[in-house]
């Protein structure tokens, strides 16, 4: 195996870890050099992912740039990565946000070396989970992500960081360990029926199991993903983790890690167990809508801006789940688009909250008010991001929500109507928060000496804002590339369902 045979996806996975390894050779007090190196490697990964974007053939729905190497051949395990329209933008979102997260971490001055090391390892973990085409490899990356996040929350987090970090790990592992047993079981059944021992996702897609077996396997996979999403009632780890995590940690957690859950549903749980997924749709939709309304209602009550944003994620991801389980093109495309939107909007919200927290050491809404005159740039940015988050037409959030509702209405009109009220609630709590923070009299004298955003902060916010507007105005380049892969997945599910019914009719 010569290094020259690595394809573009492997290089993408290697870039962050190589950066992390190089960090170890820089003395720990050279903080500038540590940040510069990390920024360099995250930017390199981003530009490399743009190259992958350029190589991507948008007409195709199938896996592209596939690389396969034997890893543990005796056990049917291989190193297999590939990219399609579903993972393409999630990969781009990850590589795009990592340099932003590194820049946003500038205020971190303690144990910088370890901090950046974990950030870079985390990036490889996330990219690997999106790219893996082998169930074992996917599981490895899925768990690898946990460890750096655990350290990021536990070492650099807020006062209750240890509790939050442990809760995060225990919750996520509870789900994923059962998924591990399900993976093993699935592979064994495949080996038994197809006479080939393999963990390859694409081959196991072809497996047709009886409904009862599918049910248990689906539940094991779905639990793991539902915790990560997080779906109501598995969401309780999320506010703790978000509130305690350092700013960049919250950004990555909300923007990318939560997407692992919804991505997992679309990539694994739904196409692997199509009949059960279709049958479960009413339940999942119900839970999703409860999550939408519940998350919004709880967000409204929050006094802490970060907590408010955290609960709003529960609500927003409810929309994503709603669209996925509508099982039609609009719904699933809308969900996929909304995953990116949520990554950008919520990421940006956490960044802004972090910036204000660095200045005032408070995140309580009541401590602010009348900020517009004081920090106009910050206020204007917060306004755009707030509007994006509530789905104002012309900004990114609108496109996704519209498509989701369009798709979901065909599948479950009643629940969709309830979900739409969730949109109204989200406008209420976000605008209310905005009004209390930005408008009104400048009551708190401490806010008089607030400084507006500096150049570094503007530089890291600018690309996100550009994308927020671009994705709102011109979604076509995104949807066009997602389309064929979404269609392929839906066709696969539909074909399986037909086969099931045909089989039942023949008996």
């Amino acid at each position: 195996m010569s290094t020259l045979t690595f394809g573009p996806l492997t290089w993408l996975l290697l870039l962050p870890v190589v950066g992390a390894a190089l960090l170890l050779f820089i003395p720990r007090d050279r903080k500038g050099a540590l940040y510069a190196l990390s920024l360099l490697f995250t930017l390199a990964a981003f530009s490399w992912s743009l190259r992958i974007f350029a190589l991507f053939d948008e007409a195709q729905g199938r896996m592209q740039l596939v690389e396969r190497l034997p890893w543990m051949p005796a056990y049917g395990i291989e190193y297999a990565v590939g990219i399609d329209g579903i993972s393409l933008f999630l990969v781009l979102l990850t590589t795009f946000l990592m340099p932003v997260a590194v820049l946003a971490s500038w205020p971190v001055r303690e144990r910088v070396k370890e901090y950046l090391f974990f950030m870079l390892v985390l990036e490889t973990g996330m990219l690997g989970a999106f790219l893996a085409l082998d169930l074992f490899l996917f599981y490895v990356f899925w768990e690898v992500m946990l460890v750096p996040m655990y350290f990021l929350i536990g070492i650099w987090g807020g006062p209750r960081r240890i509790y939050a970090a442990l809760k995060f790990v225990i919750y996520t592992m509870a789900g994923s360990l059962l998924m591990l047993v399900a993976i093993i079981y699935l592979v064994m059944r495949h080996a038994h029926l197809a006479q080939t021992l393999t963990f390859s996702l694409l081959e196991i897609y072809e497996l047709r199991l009886p409904y009862d077996e599918q049910l248990w396997l689906f539940l094991a996979f779905a639990l793991s993903f539902a915790i990560k999403v997080p779906m109501f009632p598995f969401h309780t780890w999320l506010p703790d983790a978000h509130v305690e995590a350092p700013t960049a940690g919250s950004v990555i957690l909300a923007a990318v890690l939560l997407k692992m859950g919804t991505y997992g549903f679309l990539r694994f749980a739904m196409p692997l167990f199509p009949e059960v997924a279709l049958a479960a749709a009413p339940f999942v939709i119900a839970m999703a809508v409860i999550g939408i309304v519940y998350g919004a209602a709880v967000a409204m009550m929050q006094a802490d801006i970060k907590k408010l944003v955290a609960y709003s994620s529960v609500s927003h991801l409810g929309f994503v789940m709603l669209g996925l389980f509508a099982f039609n093109t609009q719904g699933v495309q809308g969900s996929l688009y909304q995953m990116l939107n949520h990554g950008l909007s919520t990421g940006a919200l956490f960044l802004l909250v972090g910036m204000i927290y660095d200045r005032r050491h408070s995140r309580l809404i009541e401590d602010f008010g009348g900020l517009w005159a004081q920090v106009p740039v910050f206020s204007a940015l917060l306004m755009v991001v707030t509007l994006s988050s509530i789905g104002l037409p012309g900004l990114n959030g609108f496109v996704g929500e519209f498509l989701i509702l369009l798709g979901a209405f065909g599948a479950a009109p009643g629940w969709t109507a309830v979900a739409a009220t969730g949109m109204i609630l989200s406008a209420v709590y976000m605008l209310w928060m905005f009004r209390r923070v930005i408008f009104g009299p400048l009551a708190n004298p401490e806010n008089r000496k607030l400084a507006d955003l500096n150049a570094r902060e503007l530089v890291l916010m600018a690309p996100i804002l550009v994308l927020i507007v671009f994705m709102g105005v011109y979604p076509d380049p995104f949807l066009r590339r997602m389309g064929p892969s979404v269609q392929l997945t839906l066709d696969r599910i539909a074909a399986a369902a037909r086969a099931q019914h045909g089989g039942a009719a023949a008996q």
Binding site: M72, Y75, V144, G154, I155, M173
Partner: protein
């Protein structure tokens, strides 16, 4: 009877090295004592090399009462590595705590020789000889910190409980002999090929007594109660050696005697073994959570790991066997590493390894703390580390043999274990300060051992293929 001693060379080599170390000790001046370490390591290296040359040889000695097949050789390497690591880790510890160096190293070597005999024993009496050679050496080792009462207490407890277990084993051997007319495993197995109606009733009873005796030695619940006190009281490097090598030796004997030679009795063992596995995992993990000291936590966690290994035994020979060997390999690496780090942090005056001792260590002793984190994550079963791969193969064998429920109980137990393993990391990286106090200065060889253990933990996780193949070949040489 053939008197070709070639197949016995590894055991003889290690035993000779023990004698050499003991004799050398008499003639060396104080400043020359490093020679003892070199002699011991050389003995182990030669033994390991001889084992390597014998690979794939399938030889037997003393009328086939001692087999030197790949299974024996696999364990020989494991024991030699564990002994070498223990010696590397102990160098400074032994000197600063005032233990007798010559005796310490030679007892480790004697125990290792006994273990090699245990792994190769094809006769219940030979097995018993190996077991006692190992046990007596370890009884003494666990009591060698005479400045501490806990150490003497540990030795006493270990000795009494060990004698108890010996009683069970001897009774079991006697009953099996009475039923089958032989202590030779081959002839016992041949006897068992007859129809079950012809077996006398006490044959099963004898096998059960053997099972209980071995369950004592591996520390399976409910025969585990001696483990925490003995592990805590024994000198830290010895605890590492016990929890790895002694346990592996007992499992080796378990596999050869109970799981392989007495396999026609499997149907009688199925349910008890399942219950044993479930109880051992669950109780080990639950009690580990509540422990105030890291050493006791590791003691209980070693009980839990015995439970995972029992899952492999329940899964039957074809699937469980190789995964059992691989798991033992992975478990040995990470556990030795963890105890090596603990030794590296030990203080002469304050032997108790409470969690609080670890506070803030992550940034004060970055290498030891990073390695410890790696071992903890591996023990908890995070990929891509050896512990994960081991668990993966064990659970896989369980699912494959139709014991999906055991795999599920196993993963839920892994989840429990995350709580206490991560607590170590929490203390090292997330809690400030830490007790002052001087840890023993450590020799570079301790860092070497820790580094090697960490590197192999990572290696076995990322590229396990070679080790898996090795485990597979070793296990199937039994047939």
């Amino acid at each position: 009877m053939d008197l070709d001693l070639t197949p016995l060379l590894p055991a003889i080599q290690v035993g000779l090295a023990a004698l050499v170390v003991m004799l050398l000790d008499l003639f060396l001046k104080d400043h020359e004592r490093n020679l003892l370490v070199w002699a011991a390591l050389l003995g182990l290296a030669l033994g390991s090399f001889e084992a390597w040359t014998l690979w794939n040889g399938q030889e037997a000695a003393f009328g086939e009462t001692l087999l030197v097949d790949n299974f024996t050789l696999f364990f020989t390497q494991l024991f030699a590595a564990a002994a070498a690591a223990t010696i590397l880790v102990s160098v400074r510890y032994v000197r600063e705590t005032g233990m007798r160096e010559g005796e310490f190293y030679s007892l480790i070597l004697f125990a290792t020789a006994g273990m090699i005999v245990m792994a190769g024993a094809n006769d219940l009496i030979v097995f018993f000889l190996g077991l006692e050679t190992m046990s007596v050496a370890v009884y003494i080792l666990s009591g060698m910190r005479r400045d501490r009462r806990e150490s003497s207490e540990a030795a006493m407890k270990y000795f009494v409980i060990g004698a108890f277990a010996t009683g069970f084993l001897l009774y079991g051997i006697a009953l099996v002999y009475g039923a089958t007319g032989s202590t030779h495993l081959g002839r016992v197995a041949a006897y068992l090929l007859q129809s079950p109606e012809k077996w006398p009733g006490y044959l099963t009873a004898g096998a059960f007594l053997l099972l209980i005796g071995l369950a004592f030695k591996v520390g399976a619940v409910p025969f585990h109660f001696w483990i925490p006190d003995v592990y805590e009281g024994a000198p830290t490097p010895v605890t590492g050696f016990m929890s790895v090598a002694v346990k592996a030796a007992a499992f080796a004997a378990w596999v050869r005697i109970l799981a392989h030679s007495l396999s026609p009795l499997d149907s009688d063992f199925a349910t008890p073994l399942r219950l044993l596995a479930i109880a051992t995992m669950t109780i080990g993990n639950l009690l580990a959570i509540t422990q105030p000291s890291v050493k006791r936590m590791l003691a209980y966690s070693s009980i839990a790991h015995a439970g995972y290994l029992l899952i492999a035994l329940v899964s039957g020979e074809e699937w469980g066997g190789p995964s059992l060997l691989f798991y033992l390999l992975a478990y040995s690496l990470m556990t030795l590493g963890a105890f090596a780090v603990l030794t590296g942090l030990a203080e002469k005056e304050r032997p108790n390894e409470e969690y609080a001792r670890l506070a803030g260590l992550g940034f004060k002793r970055p290498f030891l703390a990073a390695a410890m984190s790696l071992f903890m994550l591996s023990l908890a079963g995070f990929p891509p580390l050896a512990g994960f791969t081991g668990k993966f193969y064990v659970f896989r064998s369980a699912v494959h043999s139709g014991h999906t429920d055991l795999a599920v109980i196993g993963v839920l137990n892994s989840l429990l274990s995350v709580v206490y393993y991560l607590r170590v990391i929490v203390m090292m990286y997330m809690v400030e300060g830490g007790a002052e106090g001087r840890s023993l200065r450590q020799a570079p060889c301790l860092y070497l051992a820790v580094g090697l253990a960490a590197a192999s933990t990572l290696y076995l996780g990322v590229l396990p293929s070679a080790a898996l193949e090795w485990s597979r070949l070793s296990f199937f040489s039994l047939f």
